[in-house]
Symmetry: C2
Subunit: 230 residues, 2 copies
């Protein structure tokens, strides 16, 4: 399995981790979805999980007020909806607001969730099972990280994010975040205007001079750390 | 595996899901920790996971300001620290604030994380692997649920919690939450005083008349739903 940089976890943007599952696609059904589609997968009568062959999507939670909380951004070569497929073997819990949004045209391969309960499949495909478990571990770490700073104000969140990204790059003061402002706002569950206002405030205080997809530049690390720890 | 009620997910209080791992304790090392201990497990040189044989603990994230964000409450018969053991095979990410807190005296059995990468172990213990994967799925659902309402104000959080708990009991207006006010406050990442103030406000408006470990009583479901959806 390729290595997952710490920055991927801080941006909840997971790289391809499950490409070895390509060898099992003969057990799956292909389906295509157009860019802009919302997929509600956890209401299907039987639980399924999917291999994302092509395209980019996000798992999100939409609230009744129209606001969006993004959870994870997924790249091709990833298994998705695995928690639903596994969890529904033992619980009636369904998260009514949970869905996937397709940023691009998407090709998925649908596996029956029962496959993951099938001891014969586990015995005969141990490398796929080890791979799946490991990617579940990484997803849990990413969700954990998001949750750990969910209950702080907007400015603190952004400072912690910048500090974490710097530490993930060995203390760099200039780096490429690879996440857009609107993706970041949705990941933090805040409006884009709130994000922009906070970035502006940090610029005026000389803490950072840029935070875009292409560039995070930190000007005053000590002050950043102080604000992040509030 | 025993079934996990939806209310367990809403309270992030997971029942025993991994009791079959008792049969593998000969592969593990026993350790005991006193009530009140904080365990930092993700800084051990090699990744390990643990079977919780006795006692009750919580996985939490402590912030620099002393506030606490609880993630999951774990009961005996559970595997813990699995995400760390799995994830560190592929990522250098470590959540510096992540620790476990022992509510009681605790007995743990330590397994080497390498066991979960060992294809021979997977081939010969498929039932344990299926069990572990399923419990990881449930944990992801619980974290997801917490994250989905993390970025709302205190009153909305409490209303959503009450509504979810009611729906998990078939629409009941009186039920036993099995989670104390201080546990609930830490799960929501808010101060206990904030929780109490919000509960008081809901009582004054006639929405609920009680929210303790023993009893949630809803008086005005329509208004509760309206507030939860804000």
């Amino acid at each position: 399995m390729p290595s997952v940089p710490a920055s991927s976890i801080h941006t909840s943007t997971l790289p391809a981790m499950n490409e070895c599952w390509q060898e099992a696609l003969h057990l799956a059904q292909r389906e295509a979805h157009a860019r802009g589609s919302y997929l509600v997968l956890n209401t299907l009568p039987e639980g399924c999980f999917y291999y994302l062959e092509k395209g980019r999507l996000t798992i999100l939670h939409g609230a009744a007020d129209g606001s969006v909380q993004n959870m994870l951004y997924m790249e091709p070569g990833s298994l998705i909806n695995v928690a639903d497929a596994l969890g529904r073997q033992v619980t009636d819990f369904r998260d009514a607001g949970c869905q996937f949004y397709c940023f691009t045209d998407v090709v998925l391969w649908r596996f029956e969730g029962a496959l993951l309960q099938d001891e014969e499949f586990v015995r005969t495909h141990p490398h796929l099972v080890v791979n799946l478990m490991t990617s579940l571990g990484v997803k849990l770490l990413a969700m954990h990280s998001s949750l750990s700073y969910s209950n702080t104000d907007a400015l603190t969140k952004i400072c912690r994010f910048c500090l974490n990204m710097s530490q993930a790059s060995g203390g760099a003061t200039e780096l490429v975040p690879h996440i857009s402002q609107s993706e970041l706002a949705n990941l933090f569950g805040m409006h884009r205007a709130t994000l922009l206002r906070s970035i502006q405030a940090l610029k005026q205080r000389g803490v950072i001079s840029e935070l875009t997809r292409e560039c995070l530049r930190i000007e005053n690390m000590e002050e950043l750390r102080r604000l992040a720890m509030q």
